[in-house]
Symmetry: C2
Subunit: 335 residues, 2 copies
């Protein structure tokens, strides 16, 4: 593997000039640039990114921490982030936090130790104070799907409350009055916000809010099926069900069917996130779109702008969810 030194010798210029040609960091006469480029081509020179990083104190790498690497949700997010950085010549280092505080801290430590220029964090378990402290350290970072008041300008989030509101509103519009709600773990802020949106929609419609009609799930399929069993066992009549994510909606759908209910005729179900699986269910799941790819891209642009000083169009920090109507919610037949 040839080094910059060999290139400079072959081209008959100094190291510095070769470096300048590579980085466009100061003007070089056209003729010398040509010579250098020819030498690079002849040797098949490829700059050593490690050496470059050490000298320049940039690693051109961005750390990403997500809860899970598999699963449709994070896949879409990582995918859009990688694409954005790739065209910018940066690369992405990935770690998983598994929604546990210790693992998340660990992951951040790990990324820090790899000398990332910036971090993009989708963390849930770590405390706000921890993040504020992290800010005090040298490293710039963006938060996805989390609002920390002190860190406002670096939080990219979804209006989860609006999402819960939209989902509920659809069902109300369809004439449903007996609603159930399966939430995510309520210590997670997004789960709380979605539920608040639900409550707001109920309230606006002048409906009572009944705590029995809330079941706290786990954002996994099991949560959905457990929710269905809960409502049935408690004898709570339901014509429509809101699930705080698509996986729980899927679990609920399966369980409801096993319990003999026809979906959507006897029970309308709406999910949240619009991950890929919502295409695959039968009936196809109505849901709330979480524009995670766009948000990932925005996070990448944030970094490009704030850390690498690239000019970027106006950054958008808050995203709006959108209602996706498919087949799992229908108008409540008049009794």
């Amino acid at each position: 593997m040839p080094t910059i030194y060999e290139v400079s010798k072959l081209a008959g210029v100094s190291l510095a000039t070769v470096s300048r040609v590579m980085n466009n960091t100061s003007p070089v006469r056209e003729s010398t640039r040509k010579k250098v480029e020819a030498a690079m081509a002849e040797l098949g020179y490829r700059p050593n990114s490690i050496a470059r990083s050490l000298a320049s104190n940039r690693s051109d790498s961005i750390g990403i921490l997500v809860s899970e690497l598999h699963g449709p949700f994070y896949g879409a997010m990582i995918s859009s982030i990688e694409a954005e950085f790739r065209t910018a010549g940066k690369h992405v280092i990935i770690a998983a936090g598994h929604s546990e505080e210790a693992t998340e801290r660990d992951g951040i430590e790990f990324l820090l130790s790899r000398n990332c220029d910036a971090l993009i964090l989708h963390v849930e378990a770590v405390s706000d104070e921890y993040l504020v402290q992290l800010k005090a350290k040298e490293i710039p970072f963006v938060l996805i799907n989390r609002q920390v008041p002190a860190l406002q300008p670096q939080c990219i989030s979804l209006n989860n409350k609006l999402g819960g509101y939209l989902a509920t509103q659809l069902l109300l519009r369809q004439g449903h009055r007996q609603l159930g709600y399966i939430s995510g773990p309520l210590w997670k802020t997004d789960a709380q916000d979605r539920y608040r949106g639900h409550q707001l929609a109920l309230q606006e419609a002048g409906l009572d809010w009944d705590p029995k009609r809330l079941f706290e799930g786990d954002y996994h399929e099991d949560g959905g099926s457990a929710g269905i069993r809960y409502f049935l066992q408690q004898g709570i009549p339901l014509t429509a069900l809101i699930c705080a994510n698509d996986e729980m909606a899927s679990g609920a759908m399966t369980e409801a069917r096993e319990q003999g209910l026809f979906i959507p005729q006897q029970l309308s179900i709406i999910g949240f996130d619009n991950v890929m699986l919502s295409h695959y269910t039968y009936p196809k799941l109505s849901t709330i779109d979480y524009p995670i790819a766009a948000m990932g891209q925005m996070a990448a642009r944030w970094v490009l702008k704030e850390v690498y000083q690239q000019k970027q169009p106006e950054l958008q920090l808050v995203f709006e969810p959108r209602l996706i109507e498919r087949d799992s919610c229908v108008v409540q037949p008049q009794p």
Copy 2:
């Protein structure tokens, strides 16, 4: 951020000794080790991985190239690879190849330029010769889901033929005689192999192989629905359908239902891969399990052993698929 130099000063030893303490690269007296560790703790020292890489000529990073970052299949693979390396203190750099030759080469170039110690490649479009040439370069790599004869010892693959065989065998055992097959793009070797397994099973059962009963799909949902339309239009009677992956099976299922067929009563469908979506379909999809997580882990171990000289249990290069019976295939009722 403190450097090794400051640690050495505080501990009253030389740089070399601190380095030795960190890397266990040669024995250090217990008392000095204590001193050094105390100094590191006091300063909150964290080694600079960039500098370390430059000096040692290792980057402790492994490049991974997959076709897509999103989607359940690659997610599972990346997840298991990351987990394995993470515990080894290595990290993973990811690029997407999008099943296109130019992009794949590009991705490899990109990873090479990041000074990866090794690559794990899930490539489809790039030629065998290219890979053989790559081997001639300095960089070690493993291939996942690909067999290159000259690169045998670094290929981790699934016995795809057996998978096609198993799927077909199930349907035959269930009494089906009118089978259809929706393959992946036949320029992909895995698509070919799966189909060969299908042919073999037919042959063993003494059944004719009819080229009209093959539809070449694209491994996406559309391929599945197009396949159903094809069989219907051609008036080819079918009681069971083998799809070369789960996505096409899902597409086929949806389309068949829209065409008025009851699944599985009128048409049994089996998929391939056992990706997450196969849980979500209705009826739940019977399929062939592709142990992608295990294979990813094995690829990581290959690297740990061959590149980092870590001792590892015997490496397994060929994996066997397994039949997963769910609800989408039933015994063919006697006519």
